[in-house]
């Protein structure tokens, strides 16, 4: 009898994700081409995107502000493993970007950059979809790309890794 070598055992979960108030405001900002953060009244840190509360101080973050779509690569990794439903072809760079004005980095994909050129401190900017395609979704930002600015000093972002 010829053995069966393997079986597929699919795991499927369909669910409705509710963003909550803070993330909804963030996504509605994205739909207007703006990146909104919230500042903690106590520690003054700016969260982007905000979850509506400061994890450090345990208070609501109600002060809203717009941050830049330019930022600094704090850390990164190069993804070499393909995965279904991904619009980027590996290898590609996934970077934590500290947007100017924010205190926590923001994960996104970096393009228009050779793998060997990516580095901590590199200055980058968001590349948005055309205005008429903006929507309340993270795919409104297609990716980040390097810009012609000198690298940020390590000391300027070492507290935000």
């Amino acid at each position: 009898m010829e053995l069966v070598k393997s079986i597929t055992t699919p795991v499927v979960l369909d669910y409705e994700y509710v963003t909550g108030r803070a993330q909804s405001r963030f996504l509605r900002g994205i739909a207007q081409g703006r990146i909104l953060g919230q500042r903690c009244v106590e520690c003054r840190r700016v969260y982007v995107p905000s979850r509506g509360a400061c994890a450090r101080c345990g208070v609501r973050t109600e002060e809203e502000l717009q941050v830049s779509d330019k930022g600094t690569v704090t850390t990164f990794c190069i993804v070499r493993v393909p995965s279904e439903n991904l619009s980027f072809k590996p290898p590609y760079v996934c970077a934590a970007v500290l947007l100017d004005g924010a205190d926590i980095p923001f994960m996104h994909v970096l393009q228009e950059c050779a793998l060997e050129d990516v580095r901590m401190g590199m200055r980058v900017q968001a590349v948005w979809v055309p205005k008429e395609q903006l929507g309340p979704t993270m795919s409104s930002i297609r990716y980040f790309k390097p810009i012609a600015e000198p690298d940020a000093e390590y000391d300027s972002f070492k507290e935000h890794l």
Binding site: S6, V18, R28
Partner: protein, 153 residues
């Protein structure tokens, strides 16, 4: 994610679909079990102490020792030892009308085997009832080769 925008202040929502199409390798013991299904047989494995485990396991759960290759065909009939009624089946469950999930002690087995029983009505289910498998028309070496069990008539 494709959120829908209901009104300006309401939280956004999006339908998420999470799916992992795992492929697991079977090895020589479960590989034999699934090969048996393809031929419409259900096999177990006999431990050194003489217990028949269905589905077959590579190790005896009582002693931890390897079970070897003493495969034995069991069933196809069996006895329901316990069951629960599913009145609203979900999309990926084995039957799309109300059915029972049951533990079935197949004839010749010493362990229970979990599968669906197509009894049509909860009132027809009882512990101790006799069932037999209904096979899929073209078995492929998957657990779904047994479409379900049905009451013996």
């Amino acid at each position: 994610m494709a959120p829908t925008q209901a009104d300006h202040e309401a939280p956004l929502t999006a339908l998420h679909h999470l799916e992992y199409a795992y492929r697991r390798s079977l090895g020589p013991v479960l590989g034999r079990f699934f090969a048996g299904l393809r031929e419409r047989t259900i096999c177990g494995i006999r431990t050194r102490a003489g217990r028949v485990l269905v589905p077959p396991a590579e190790y005896d759960p009582d002693t931890g020792e390897a079970t070897g290759e003493d495969f034995v065909d069991v069933g196809p009939g069996g006895t329901v030892t316990t069951w629960t009624w599913v009145s609203k089946p979900r999309a990926k469950q084995p039957l799309q009308h109300p059915f029972a999930y049951a533990l079935i002690k197949l004839d010749g087995a010493d362990t229970n085997f979990l599968h669906a029983v197509d009894a049509l009505a909860e009132s027809r289910m009882r512990t101790g009832m006799r069932v037999r498998p209904r096979w899929r028309s073209e078995p492929r070496g998957e657990i779904a080769d047994i479409a379900c069990f049905e009451p013996e008539t």
